[in-house]
């Protein structure tokens, strides 16, 4: 335990200089732990990782991990001259020409994926991965490798889902390879076209890659700290299914739905759906795959009441920390006992309702005026 704490401490204080994680060019770290990230770190580690770091520091249980920073990304792109090559490939590209767009995209992606990292970055990643495995008490921990874009989640310019996530990755080489795949996902045809359309300059685009311990989820899903259908901020709404959250996020299954009172944490509504499929890990291929839910479990509540309450409590703390309604991904780990088994995988500001100013009729008036106007309005019966 001591060594783990020491390790974090050492790394979390880059100025001690004990690890050569800093870029010799800019003095910024190329790799860092999630707990070192804050919400101000978006430029360095992108939206997802900065948000995870913020959560960890708010006391929320998040699977541990580290990130290749945007500095690391820039060094990678610069070291081998990829950046210049990519720029030249994009010059004069007609985004209306679907074929040309796709061809350019493939070429760029192959280029990125085939190019090894510098020894320095490889060593930093390998060392962090080893430490993460030690922290997880396994020789080589299974991780999720996902992109964390700096432009992601900007209001009105949601990139969500446009970059990739690779699950159940195991071993340093696999981690490194998938990190490059994440980087290359910046250059899908759609992403290129979108940026050109929106006028984002390529030089402004940067990506970070997060590497995070996989939660071996028995149940997972999403949670909103307001009611997604009416914007009611007094509730927390949870969608859940067995296995990984993919089935819920993608909409492939009608999840169980729970509405929890945010103030008292009572479950005020529960809808148990028939859940016919779920995602789990294939132990042989180490890949996530879709399988059928056994018939007798299809109509069974996928989260127990205590977990719902605990999850809602976490949602409430997260909202309190950020001071705004949040959209959260979570998982219940099947290897751990209740009390320490619920993990928050992601949290980002809710964007739909937050942009609408919900005007309650005739607010700001005195009680007497409100009573009168409500009487005049009456209660609709039909």
């Amino acid at each position: 335990m001591n060594t783990v704490t020491n390790t974090i401490e050492r790394v979390s204080n880059p100025r001690t200089g004990r690890m050569s994680a800093l870029s010799p060019v800019t003095g910024l770290p190329m790799v860092c732990w999630l707990e070192e990230c804050r919400k101000e770190s978006v430029d360095l580690v992108g939206g997802k990782c900065s948000s995870l770091g913020e959560l960890i520091n708010a006391g929320v249980r998040v699977p541990p991990g580290f990130a290749l920073t945007t500095e690391g990304y820039r060094r990678f792109m610069a070291d081998a001259g990829i950046d210049r090559e990519v720029q030249s490939m994009l010059v004069g590209l007609d985004i209306q020409d679907m074929e040309a767009l796709e061809n350019t995209s493939s070429a760029i992606r192959e280029l990125i994926e085939a190019q090894p990292f510098s020894t320095e970055i490889e060593d930093l990643v390998a060392e962090s991965y080893r430490k993460l495995s030690v922290r997880s008490c396994v020789p080589a921990v299974q991780v999720a490798v996902r992109s964390s874009a700096t432009a992601e989640d900007l209001p009105g310019a949601s990139f969500a889902g446009q970059q990739d996530t690779y699950l159940w990755v195991r071993g340093t080489d696999e981690v490194l390879y998938n990190m490059r795949r994440c980087i290359s996902s910046l250059y899908t045809g759609r992403a290129i076209a979108y940026r050109i359309n929106q006028g984002f300059g390529e030089e402004l685009i940067a990506i970070s890659v997060g590497v995070q311990k996989m939660a071996n989820s028995f149940t997972a899903g999403v949670m909103f700290t307001l009611h997604p259908t009416n914007g009611d901020r007094s509730v927390i709404v949870i969608d859940s299914n067995y296995g990984f959250g993919e089935s819920v996020v993608s909409g492939e299954v009608t999840p169980d739905n729970f509405v929890v009172n945010k103030i008292t944490l009572d479950i005020i509504e529960r809808t148990i759906s028939q859940k016919d499929i779920y995602y789990t890990v294939d132990t042989k291929t180490q890949e996530s795959r879709k399988i059928e839910v056994p018939f007798e479990r299809q109509k069974v509540q996928s989260l127990v009441d205590d977990e719902i309450t605990e999850l809602a409590w976490m949602g409430k703390q997260i909202e309190k920390h950020y001071g705004r309604p949040m959209d959260i991904e979570w998982a219940v780990d099947k290897d751990l006992p209740f009390g320490g088994n619920i993990f928050i995988l992601q949290a980002r500001p809710e964007t739909v309702w937050s942009q609408k100013q919900q005007a309650v009729a005739k607010a700001g008036v005195s009680a007497m005026d409100y009573i009168l106007s409500s009487m005049l309005e009456g209660k609709r019966l039909k």
Partner: protein, 609 residues
Amino acid sequence: MKFPNPHDFKTIPGTEGWERMYPYQYQFVTDDPERKEYEEKAFWFYDGLHYPEAIYPFDTIWDEAWYLGLSQYNNRIFQVPPVRGVDHRVINGYIYISPVPVLDGAEIGSRVPNFMERAGFYYKNWNELEAKWEVKMKALIKQIEDLPISRLPDLEDISVVTEGLGESKGYHLIKTYDDLINMGIQCWQYHFEFLNLGYAAYVFFLDFVQKLFPSAPLQRVTQMVAGIDVIMYRSDDELKKLAKKAIELGVDGAFTFNKEWDGIQAELKTTAKGQEWLAALEVARYPWFHVSTGTGWSHADKSWNDDLNIPMSGIATYIDHLKKGLEIERPMEKVRAERDRIIEEYRSLINTEEERKTFDDLLNTAKTVFPYVENHLFYVEHWFHTVFWKKMREVSAIMVEHKMINDVEDIWYLRRDEIKQALWDMVTAWATGVKPRGIKVWPKEIDWRKGVMQKFQEWSPPPAIGTAPDVIQEPFTIVLWGVTNSSISDWAEVTDNADPDSITTLKGFAGSPGIVEGKARVCRTADDIRLLQDGEILVAPTTSPSWAPAFAKIKAAITDVGGVMSHAAIVCREYGLPAVVGTGHGTKIIKTGMMLHVDGSSGVITIQR
């Protein structure tokens, strides 16, 4: 949703002529085309809240009293802009009511300034006016308590002559009866002085919060005005005090070894300590034992003072709990702390400053009106009514003595104006020294009416008739009866289900949160509370303050009638017990001993068959 036409109801065979048991203006009619058309176009819903069973002819007095009271305050005193009064009808002994909207927009507008001035005055001066109300009300109760009801003597007392009184006991009886009725009506005049406005303030506070937070459960919103001192709990508090006193005096054994009041009293009388306790009881029971075991609306609702076995079993429960070292006080500090936390958290989630301002103002108004909304029940429905029923039984006893009716309890089969006729008949015959005609008229009529009432009780009134409007604006209709499409269709669903033994789920209002499982105990009256075992789930038509001791034993409560502001819901929230209220038919479907799953957060009861 389709509701039956009010004029299509067939008379139940054997009840032909039932209409004469009720005021003539309560009938749906076809002989006046204009009235017939009005009745068809209006929306009438069954007032199961006040009348879970067919109403007795005499008990119609309170229906007429509130018909007048509510309507006059709405329409002639405060001028609620969009609604006049609430109209009443009767079908097969069941009362149907209908809010009367003001349809002309210009007229609504012209009523607004009056309403703002008049209602505004009451809201602004609420506390002073309420203090005046209490004085008036107590004076009226004193007056009815002091009202002497004298038998008819063979020879008037000599004082009539020596003091030149110039009035007979016969005249007094007729006059006293009139006084009794008039006081009853007057009491109901006072009843509505604050109630319309009180409900409006309370309802629209709830409404505002639910507009801000559409998913906020009503039970949680009502918690924002919890923990305010109201006298509703006072009677129960007196039982707790008496339980403590019994232990202090060392006479608590009397409650363990005797189940009936007679036995307890006999044992206590034998010792000085016991007599001291009995003296304390005498102090406490007036007025605090004037609590009805029902809503107080029916003559059948007894009070603790009518049957001391009921409070004694409550005292025995508290003695038992105290000896086991259990806490018997209501957790008021906890309730208040939780209330403040809930207010603060909801308040902090409000998006704008303006909304927060309205919230604060409405909350303060709701807190101001809340004590009246609760307290009037004790003064009117409990204290006054208890005394009133007792006095009426004294009048009835005199009629029995003169053979006008066979039994004291027969008087309820007569309309109050028929009783007056009968008293005239009886008193003039007494004065003249002949037999009254009524002795051959009323017993026969009452026998027939008993048969009719029996058939009425077996009939199931539809929840609504006539034409449903798009919008309801009458505050009572919205709050008290919770009239919405879904509530009416929920009730209709169970009514339509042919076999009550096959029903496994029952819906009501989510009265108090929490989920429990346990055995049902159906208590139709407060007498049955004595059968309750620790940890059972109480299933009752409705509850009232006199049921309070039951809540110390139970795990959850289910009632047929009432909304989230009903007694059972409020008490359960304070004790932290789940409650489902207003199920419509709980006591008919659930049987004692059934295993129930009660979800007080969603209002769903599951019967495990």
